[in-house]
């Protein structure tokens, strides 16, 4: 059961990475990051079958961080939208040399 869970987790993570790299919509990129966090949680739970419940405790921490990240990130997206009237990340190139 554990190797299969790790395999599914890896595939979901890779799908999330490809999504982050290919999309331009800031909200969709953010949702892909959530998918990656979910995939990592799946590995944590799978490894908690091997090493005890510490992995499940870490999943709780990851969820807390994900909730905080969603709140702050979506607030940033809202202020970007106020500034540019769009969530297209091509507009956000202030740090481009």
């Amino acid at each position: 059961m554990v190797p299969e869970a790790l395999f599914f987790s890896a595939v979901l993570f890779v799908i999330g990475v490809v999504g982050v790299l290919t999309r331009r919509n800031a909200i969709l990129i953010f949702m892909c990051v959530e998918l990656m966090l979910n995939a990592v949680n799946l590995s944590f739970v799978a490894f908690s079958r091997l090493h005890g419940v510490g992995g499940q405790v870490f999943v709780i921490f990851v969820m807390t961080v994900a909730a905080a990240e969603a709140a702050v990130g979506l607030a940033i997206i809202i202020s970007i939208f106020r500034h540019h009237e769009s969530v297209d990340l091509r507009n956000v190139n202030l740090l481009k040399g």
Binding site: L50, H51, Q56, V57, A67, I78
Partner: protein, 170 residues
């Protein structure tokens, strides 16, 4: 520990549903459709948590991820009126797409290499009727008490930060 064939079949079923849902999720144009597919993926992952004897985490996954975080996402999509698919020319240029494909293939190759690693022996599964939530709470409130308290500071900072960032400046 060996499970019945039906159990394994359902585990594979949920895993394949999660992969299919996430593929549909990354290819949708409309943010609302993508968010709903992501909720679907989260339910499948929650089912896998339960099958891996992490019932409490499975319940939290549904409540926090599918129930709270995704609602915030959908709420922002609604607030900014982004539901129309064609507004953002969404996919990046061909070069970036090829890079993404190569990165994806490289990571899948890593998975194939890592799949040769021998895993340690599984711990015995909790006996039916055992208090699985209490075992998580025991570790959380003894060994990880300080990180647990620190997350409350993190959440407070996140709330204040979100309000400050999203407040309309007059």
């Amino acid at each position: 520990m060996t499970h019945g064939l039906l159990f394994q079949f359902h585990f594979y079923l949920f895993g394949l549903l999660a992969i299919a849902g996430s593929l549909l999720f990354v290819t949708r144009k409309s943010p609302v459709a993508a968010a709903l597919w992501l909720v679907n993926v989260m339910f499948c992952i929650s089912a896998m948590f339960v099958m891996l004897d992490a019932q409490f985490i499975g319940a939290i996954q549904v409540l926090v991820y599918a129930g709270a975080i995704m609602v915030v996402f959908i709420f922002v999509v609604m607030l900014l009126n982004l539901g129309h698919p064609a507004e953002v020319q969404d996919l990046r240029s061909n070069g970036t797409r090829i890079t993404a494909g190569l990165v994806g293939l490289a990571m899948l190759a890593e998975v194939l290499v890592l799949s040769r690693v021998k895993l340690p022996v599984e711990l015995p599964a909790p006996t039916p009727g055992a208090n699985v939530t209490a075992s998580v709470a025991d570790v959380l409130f003894h060994q990880y008490l300080l990180p647990f308290e620190l997350t409350s500071v993190l959440l407070l900072a996140a709330i204040v930060g979100a309000v400050v960032l999203a407040k309309r400046r007059s």
